[in-house]
């Protein structure tokens, strides 16, 4: 029987904290008139100066600017979504590595969850998942994750057509 595994509260907090609206700006761009904008519609990624250590800083600790795309919700582009079944996952990090939208959240080489605010449902994470059955499976966007988990595909045997 597979090892039962759950994410910790700490990991859940990280997942939730990442994509909430930040209040770094003294004034939101939504309160600015045309005269207060930066010329050229340039969008800054961070507030203030960025040092060399930003790559080693976790996203939740980065000083993202309001205009950073992390604050832009694009989840409604999706038709199908990846659902993660935690007890099948072996934390191989394939999905994290291959996701083109950095929408697989991982900490200390342990998967934390899917960022549904930015995932566009391309299915690459599911494609590269090596477990049997897969721990990331694409479901119709309208199906809730709870229901999806009850409809999980069964393990395939050698010679089965997938």
């Amino acid at each position: 029987m597979a090892k039962i595994k759950t994410i910790t509260q700490e990991q859940a907090d990280i997942a939730n904290s990442l994509y909430k609206d930040k209040e770094h700006f003294e004034k939101s761009i939504w309160d600015m008139g045309w005269d207060e904008l930066v010329p050229s519609a340039a969008c800054f990624s961070f507030d203030g100066k960025v040092d060399n250590h930003v790559a080693q800083t976790q996203p939740e600790n980065r000083n993202y600017a309001e205009t950073n795309s992390i604050n832009k919700y694009v989840g409604d582009w999706r038709v199908v979504k990846p659902v993660w079944k935690v007890d099948l996952c072996i934390d191989c990090q394939n999905c994290w590595l291959y996701c083109p939208d950095t929408s697989i959240i991982s900490r200390d080489k342990m998967m934390v969850g899917v960022d549904y605010d930015h995932c566009k449902g391309c299915g690459i994470c599911s494609e590269v998942c090596p477990t049997n059955p897969k721990s990331l499976v694409m479901f119709n966007e309208q199906i809730s994750n709870e229901v999806a988990l009850t409809q999980w595909p069964v393990k395939t045997k050698k010679g089965d057509k997938v």
Binding site: G33, D35, P39, S40, A42, C43, F44, S45, K49
Partner: protein
Amino acid sequence: MNHSKNKKILELNKVEIWDGNTSNAQALRQAGVDVMSAYPITPSTATVEGYAKLHADGYIDGEIMIVESEHAAMSGCVGASAAGARTATATASQGLALMIEVLYQAAGMRTPVVLCLVNRALAAPLNVNGDHSDMYLTSQSGWISLGSCNPEEAYDMTLCAFKIGEHKDVRLPVISNQDGFMSSHTAQNVRPLSDEVVADFIGEFVEVNSLLNFDHPVTHGVQTESDWHMEHKAKQNDAMMNSPKVIKEVFAEYEKLSGRKYNLVEEYKIDDADIVIACMGTTYETAQIAVDKLRIQGTKVGLILPRVFRPFPLDEMAAKLQNCKAVVCLDRSSPGGHTGLLFNDISAALINTDARPLMSDVIYGLGGRDITVADICDIYRDANDEVKAGKLNGGILRWATVRGPELKYYGTGV
């Protein structure tokens, strides 16, 4: 601005014999362009060719990117400019038409690229000679557009283009126009400034939120939808509308260095003129001879030229045309189902003023069709007849210098 110690020094004569393309190439050399991204096309080829030769001979310390199309040429300029480089290119006609999408990008991204546009007809029929249809194509692209009438003015305008476009209150791309062949290939006297004077005049390129500033990562060329597009366009257009202040300052500073005075609107003998012709490019010089000729015969005629085509100097134009009885606008571009652009702009300048001159529009000189002193004298005489009659003779818009039956449109028999 590049500072290589290996860069060779070019000694210029006090007076050089340059055609307009050489003027451009030398102006670009002196301006210290960091990146030229170009795809040469007649009649602007020699601008790029001349610059490339100066580069190959060691007089320029910059990068030249020879790309696969004009679209790529302007894209290269926009990218390099956003990265923090002083950039320039040259094109004409079909090249400009292929480039036009990126012209809007350059303006919206506020990259102060300089484009040496050597005005040429747009096909079809295919034609390599000069008219203003490519200049008119840029009229709403958000570029500042400066006009010149000879190689010396082309040199001056190309230099001023950098100073104007890169100014902190402007930050817009600038076109330096000149007529294909009539200016670009006609060698004339040009009195250039020294390299040091130009370097002091234009100064260092000032980066604004440049892509290569790794301390402040930034995205350029972003997408905005109905939420922000209009505010950004308002800001861009406001910079354009306020640019004449900077243009006047730059022209004044340039006058001190060169002794050559430029204005938003140039005029020739219009103070007491009854009939004023408005035109652009080399025609302005031809028309000066016609004015002198007719004045000897006692006809009070004058001439006006928007030195700055965009932003259109509407107020200055209106102020100068308050006392004349007729304004004839010469448009060197087939208007495609309306009156010509110069006519529209000048009519808009006068529409709410007390002046009520007879306004008419003449399409002329398409595809390099010659416009002679005699042709212009005829246009003045026709306008003189209309002034005497107190009304236009048959239509607002007519075609001149064309073979076949008379072409007149828009009778406005209200």
